[in-house]
């Protein structure tokens, strides 16, 4: 990978493909069994990366920047931040 001249993410999905390369520490994982669909995560997510289906909430990693606000705000403890393996 070579860096661009102007710092920027020029393609979506960089989080899902390589959190390590982007310098991002962790991605959210949702435990569907504990999720009550209260949608606190949906409200708090600053990048609208949380999507809601009939069964459970999910996170679109293309839009997620790994801030962890969802995991902090979830009242059920259903979201944990999983470290991207190998991140320095």
């Amino acid at each position: 990978m070579r860096l661009p001249v102007t710092p920027g993410s020029y393609e979506p999905g960089s989080m899902a493909r390589g959190g390590k390369k982007q310098g991002l520490p962790a991605v959210p994982r949702v435990d569907a069994g504990r999720c009550t669909q209260c949608l606190a995560c949906w409200i708090f997510c600053p990048d609208s990366a949380v999507v809601v289906s009939d069964s459970a909430v999910g996170v679109v990693l293309e839009h997620c920047k790994g801030c962890g606000i969802c995991a902090t705000e979830c009242p059920e403890g259903a979201i944990r931040m999983e470290e991207v393996s190998g991140h320095a």
């Binding site: 860096l3 001249v5 102007t6 710092p7 920027g8 993410s9 020029y10 390590k20 390369k21 982007q22 310098g23 991002l24 520490p25 920047k65 320095a88």
Partner: protein, 405 residues
Amino acid sequence: MPEKLSLTGNQAAAEAARLARVELFPAFPITPSYPVMTSVIRMIEDGRLEARFIRVESDHSALAAAVGGSLAGARTFSTTNSQGLAMMHEVLHYASGLRLPIVMAVVNRALSAPHNRFADQGDAIAQETTGWLQLFCESNQEVLDTVLQAFKIAEDGRVLLPAMVNYDGYILGDTPQEVDLPDPARVDGFLGSYNRAVLDVEHPASLNPPTGPGLYTEFKFQQHAAMRWALEAVEEVSAQYGRLFGRDWDGAMEGYRADDADVLLVAMGSMVAVGRRAVDGLRAAGHRVGLLKVRCFRPFPQEELVRRAREAKALAVVDRNVVYGLGGALYREVMMSLAASGVAIPVVDAIAGLGGRDVTAGDLESLAHRALELAAAGKPGGEVMWLKLNDDIVGEEALPWIGLR
């Protein structure tokens, strides 16, 4: 057809912006750079320049608008000075970090406090680590030529950095001189059009993303490398401009009667013109004194300075700025360059012309005489003097430091 006009430095900067066909001009008025703004606006109103002027509520916003326009691919120009430049400080880093070739006329004026509106290069020196190229001009013709060159250098694919074109407020800014306007078609041929839209609706991007310890250093190194390329681009563009328009300003540094000199004055900005007269006077009196004119302060032409100073017996630096507790910024660059190359000669620095105080050829002759004394003594090292400091009115608590080297 070439055209000669009587133009102030501010008008010359505006004419250069017109010849460069700038597309975007966000600016906020401040003395003494506001005539650049009014001149460019009049050109847009008259239809002589097809550009968008953005009226903003502050200098900070002016540069923010410039950043947005440059990201969208517009050739972007602005102007400011002193407090306005200081207010832009935060955004200066965005412009360089995002690698945007914005060109700005900086009409050097003293910073408050105390309030002062006159010529002083401390405003530019305070921004020396913002990643902008900093070019300094001696005459209004050089202002026009340097604005055109600055676009060419800044837009060079190896460089892609913003550039400040500096000239002293009032002394050049508001004083008319004869300026030769190059032929617009030839300027078009020299400059070409700017075509680097980072923002593209077909290819959306998230710019200036949070960048952690894993990548920040690499982006900063890229800026450092671009600055190194800039020094090469300054020389190439200056030579190319000279071939096309008959005026070669000698790239990053010019020598005046410097080749066989025992003592070299080192100066930048309008002070260089005074230095030339001092050199002529000293030569007429039989002293081998020359001058080095620093056109490019950032990046600093360290190797060229050492090459030109190697044969001299002493240097006399003139600084229209002060790095408190140390001396002048130009003095610091000179001392560092010499030390890095193992050149051991005496250097005297004069803090001179702060806040618009007049500096005459006689003043610089006396400075050169001090350097000749040091050359005769042959003892390497540096000393800083405050030219024409009035000892009689300096406060009691500062008195113990007068005359200490």
